[in-house]
Amino acid sequence: MELQAVLMAAGGGSRMMDLTYNTPKPLLPVGNRPLIWYPLNLLERVGFEEVIVITTKEVQKALSTDQRLKTDVKMRLDVVCIQEEADMGTADALRHIQQKIKTDILVVSCDLITDVALHEVVDLFRAHNATLSMLMSKVHEFTETVPGQKGKKKAGEQRDFVGVDVTGKRLLFMANEADLEEGLVLRKSIMRKHPRMLIKTGLLDAHLYCLKRSVVDFLVHNKSVTSIRGELVPFLVRKQFSKSLNSQNATEDTEKNQKQQDAHHNFELLSTSKDEALLQLARERSCWNDHRGDMSEAYHGGKLRCYVHIMEEGMCYRVNTLAAYIEANRVVPKLFEDPPIHPSAVVSERSLVGSDSIIGPSCQISDKTSIKRSNVGTSSIIKEKVKITNSIIMNGVTIEEGCNIQGSVICNNAMIGRGADMKYCLVGSGQRIEPEGENGVAASTDPLSPPPPHPFNFSTSPPPTFLSSLSSWTRLFGHNL
């Protein structure tokens, strides 16, 4: 076994609380499959037979009951539960399962939906005997209007800066815009080794990492590291050019202690495979080199190397925001050759279901209903004369007759009363929108107001009363309610 796969599925989805309040992120339906299915499928496609899934009790239960997951996923799932309250970071989680890790690892996040050829990442890892190789992609521009979000894009989000060498593979530099207010500072010694550096922004970190086993050992010794992306990866990237890896001469006493500690940790970082000596010999005997210009040895003698595969085309989403969730739902169905309408769904002949929509199992679609560019989840009931466009209807939703739903997301088990007209709304799970007349709020937008329409989100915190939910969602409701 060359690589062990680790799936991180314990994240709470803090950036899309609207959706994950009642449904854990790994179980959110995307294209009528739970989100976790996608990374599992990605791993299975390339031949993994076993995967360690780090997740919560709730998800574990669902994993064992969800029919679709059971039939689709053939891999053996080694589920490790962590407590939700423990507030563990991804690096903490790796430390947690340290005993299980015998080889180098491939870490995947549960919110990754991609059609990447995974071997690209792994090949970089293999070819360069890398410590880290990771996947990035060009950021997708989200085109759809997102409920609760004014304007197209949230401005002011801080960008990541990634520096790669001339081949675009070696990862040389990584920083967040917030760290670069003073400007970007690079050591000249790095530029000497890699005289051409491309600094890129607009990249999405797919949170897919190949890591050397020694990195896990390193984590065990450095308990302060809690997150892979936040701390470990930037550390490894920096460490590539740090001299202390090789230097032996300690000068001052105070430094000495620090160094010994370092040396210990670095030893952990470097004690790679037992073939290392052989690889070293092979490299010495070979005329191959990773750089042009000077005649020094390959990798300039560096022992720690980070690589990145940047997808130029293809699909790569991290479903961690509402916008990404909506976008993923639009795009994903095109990937599968499943029939758009599940055989167990009951669809009236006098209804209109566009070929760009998918209808989940056990749905009921009644007469004179039209569904375009929308996903309808399992066991949802759509009554007569309903018009649904550009929307995501999750599982067990009931939509009464005469509703017009456009650009909205309706979460699990919601009930939409008769005659509701909603544009760009988000309805929380279990929420009831009372029929027209009984509750005037449902008629959401003034038809005369030009786009972008002002969004209304109906979501809920535990008490099922509508009004109580308002206060907790003022961020999304805006001022005029």
């Binding site: 520096g163 815009e177 670069l180 207010e181 400007g183 970007l184 500072v185 690079l186 050591r187 000249k188 010694s189 530029m191 000497r192 080794k193 005289p195 051409r196 550096m197 491309l198 600094i199 890129k200 922004t201 607009g202 450095n222 302060s224 590291v225 701390e231 550390f235 920096r238 460490k239 050019f241 740090s242 001299k243 202390s244 890896l245 230097s247 430094e255 620090q258 160094k259 370092d262 042009r292 210009g293 000077d294 005649m295 020094s296």
Partner: protein, 705 residues
């Protein structure tokens, strides 16, 4: 007239479609060639011959430059000379460039007043010499680059975005470690990969860390940029006429570096951009020091600058046509080689040179009419014309100028320079880096009086002085003639931030030299940043100002320069003008304490301070201008003198030196005070006396009117 037009001989021009900008296209390409380096890098060699005329593979450097310009399509070249202009002019008049058949018309423009590239370009603007885009090169550039593609791109950019891009700089790829990389010119460039625009340009020579301002580096709408450290500045640029205008507008631009930096920093204000063109295959390098001379010479002989090769005789000089044989051995006519002598590889030997027996010669250029004895070993030697080398001499990587005599048994270690007419030996070993010249190093100082670097004054007037000095046999041998130049006397600290020596920096200047900083960086890796005690900016600024003034005193720096330095400190530490004034005042007032201890008497204090105040009055005047400034100043004074009120006599001097005016002082005095101490201060006898005197003076002056 129609008929006439059709019958015009230039059929190609008439058949071309008529465009609105046809005139623009048909303007002949012009070039500005600056045949002066405006530095003393090649001293003492360039005391006798300007750099542009120094032979490189037996051809003057300026001929390479002109050949490059001509072959790239330049039809009119303005050669600007300053140092030894007459020699350059004479050389050009005899050359093929001034023959009537020359496709490139060369105009020589000389002036003693040029002190920098900036002056030359300002003159270009003043004389309105250029009509369209032109090439700007130095007279020591050796290149075979075809700039037509770069020129086309440049024109396209300019037509697309009217007059935004003013310059296209030409670079050659040469990554760190490459032989043709000039470590003096260690530049780092941030560029936009698509538009080829230069976003940031910096000479990184003395830096360990490279700093890129994000604001400039990331263009709007672009999500990436490239940082390149693998470029050699060929010192060839395509300039629009605006460049000359910009030099006129910004009279403080002296060098191209000033210009590029100034333009990039002010880009948002001026809206001008600089682009770049990188050549992979072409060759372009400037001979900016002797290491580059060594490199470019050997590249020429190894035919990297094809079609400019030694046997091409492109300068079309009589008797210079040489033969090219295996291992890049070139011989001009009349060369005689003694029995058993070997020309191993990469050797060029000038006409009528006689080489004795059993010599070993490799990677070497020998000029015309030289005589070389027996058993001589030459490796990487650059021997110019009419040089006599006796038997048993060894030379390694050295330059030997015209008419030098090297007596038998002499060994020249690496990087020796024997300037014109020097005699060395016999039987002496010159250590590495020896520079010998017939000019005494001190005579330079005599000329320094006028501070100008490129003057054409005859060096003869100091001859009599030279004669008094004697040659040191320990330096030049018992029969030798010449003075040793210490590298320190070559430093030109004011000319450039670098202390430059004739050979320049060695290429492999140990890339790991910054390992220390890396170690320290490695140790605080995981967020455990050591808390460095950060001095308060104001405090640091105060220390810096004190240091600056102290230095000003020691080195007798003019007040203008002090103001400049203080201003730059002000920006560096982001200090407000008011604070600058107060700190300056404080520092100056505390100066005597710093020097003499805090316990000095009033008399001592005044006697120390007064000369300082006198000296620095212009500095104060520069900052203290408005009435409010005076009050701020006085407040700061008050603060200092709260502790030692007896020193108030200083106020009088400040008044007399016109740093402070009476309105200000009166206003401050009448302002009333808040604390007991300052009230007490105001009751000081000396101060009251002075105030009274002031009042009376005012009244009397009023009475006068």
């Amino acid at each position: 007239s129609n008929v006439c037009h059709v019958a015009a001989p230039d059929l190609a021009a008439t058949s071309r479609p008529r465009k609105a900008d046809k005139d623009e296209e048909e303007k002949p390409l012009q070039a500005v060639l600056v045949a002066d380096s405006f530095n003393r890098r090649f001293f003492p060699i360039t005391k006798d011959q300007p750099r542009a005329l120094l032979p490189l593979a037996n051809v003057s450097m300026i001929d390479y430059t002109l050949e490059f310009l001509t072959s790239t399509g330049v039809q009119e070249t303005f050669v600007f000379c300053c140092w030894m202009a007459s020699k350059i002019k004479e050389h050009l008049q005899k050359s093929k460039w001034c023959r009537p058949t020359s496709p490139n018309v060369v105009h020589v423009i000389t002036s003693d007043l040029y002190r920098s590239l900036g002056d030359v370009l300002r003159d270009v603007d003043a004389k309105a010499l250029v009509r369209s885009d032109f090439l700007l090169v130095y007279g020591d550039v050796v290149s075979n680059i075809d700039v037509s593609q770069a020129l086309q791109e440049h024109k396209q950019r300019r037509s697309m975005d009217k007059n935004v891009s003013v310059m296209t700089m030409i670079f050659k790829e040469s990554p760190p470690g490459h032989k043709t990389r000039c470590e003096d010119d260690d530049i780092i460039v941030a560029m936009d990969g698509k538009s080829k625009r230069i976003l940031h340009y910096q000479r990184a020579q003395a830096l360990k860390k490279l700093h890129f301002p994000m604001v400039r580096c990331l263009e709007v709408g672009s999500d990436e940029f490239e940082i390149r450290f693998d470029l050699l500045d060929c010192h060839i640029s395509i300039c629009s006429p605006q460049v000359a205008e910009l030099f006129t507008d910004n009279f403080d631009y002296q060098t191209k570096n000033d210009f590029v930096r100034g333009l990039l920093v002010n880009e948002e204000i001026l809206g001008n951009q600089i682009h770049m063109h990188v050549t992979r295959d072409g060759y372009g390098a400037r001979v900016s020091n002797l290491l580059m001379y060594d490199t470019v010479s050997s590249d020429t002989i190894r035919r990297w600058i094809y079609p400019i090769t030694p046997e091409a005789n492109f300068a079309d000089q009589e008797g210079q046509s040489c033969t090219h044989s295996r291992h890049n051995v070139y011989r001009e006519p009349g060369v005689s080689l003694g029995h058993g002598s070997q020309m191993e590889e990469n050797v060029l030997i000038g006409r009528n040179t006689v080489i004795g027996a059993n010599c070993t010669i490799s990677n070497t250029v020998i000029g015309a009419n030289c005589v070389i004895g027996d058993n001589v070993t030459l490796d990487r030697a650059y021997i110019w014309n009419r040089v006599h080398i006796a038997d048993n001499v060894k030379v390694k990587q050295s330059v030997i100028c015209d008419n030098v005599e090297v007596k038998h048994g002499v060994v020249l270690s690496e990087q020796c320079v024997l300037a014109y007419n020097v005699v060395v030996g016999p039987d002496i070993t010159l250590p590495e880096g020896t520079v010998l010249s017939m000019h005494h190093p001190d005579e330079e100082d005599d000329e320094d009086e006028d501070e100008f670097l490129s003057d054409d004054n005859d060096v003869g007037y100091s001859k009599d002085k030279t004669k008094q000095k004697v040659f040191n046999p320990a330096e030049v041998g018992s029969e030798g003639k010449g003075y040793r130049w210490k590298s320190s006397s070559l430093d030109d600290t004011e000319e450039d931030e670098l202390a430059e020596c004739i050979w320049g920096l060695a290429l492999s200047a140990d890339p790991e030299s910054d390992s220390e900083s890396e170690v320290s960086e490695g140790s605080h890796d995981l967020g455990s940043h050591p808390a460095s005690p950060e001095l308060d900016d104001v405090k640091v600024f105060q220390n810096e100002v004190h240091g600056t003034l102290q230095r000003g005193l020691d080195e007798n720096i003019s007040c203008d320069n002090l103001v400049l330095e203080i201003n730059s400190l002000k920006y560096a530490y982001n200090i407000s003008l008011k604070e600058v004034m107060q700190i300056l005042m404080r520092v100056v007032l505390e100066f005597p304490f710093q020097q003499q201890g805090a316990q000095i008497s009033t008399a001592q204090y005044s006697s120390h301070l007064l000369p300082l105040l006198k000296k620095w009055a212009p500095v104060f005047k520069n900052y203290v201008k408005r009435p409010q400034d005076q009050l701020d100043c006085l407040a700061s004074m008050e603060e200092v003198f709260l502790e030692c009120e007896t020193h108030w006599a200083v106020l009088m001097s400040m008044y007399q030196l016109e740093i402070l005016e009476e309105e200000g002082i009166m206003h401050w005095f009448n302002q009333g005070s808040t604390t007991d101490k300052s009230q007490q201060l105001r009751r000081n006898q000396g101060l009251l006396k002075f105030i009274k005197w002031l009042q009376e003076a005012e009244e009397s002056s009023e009475g006068d009117e």
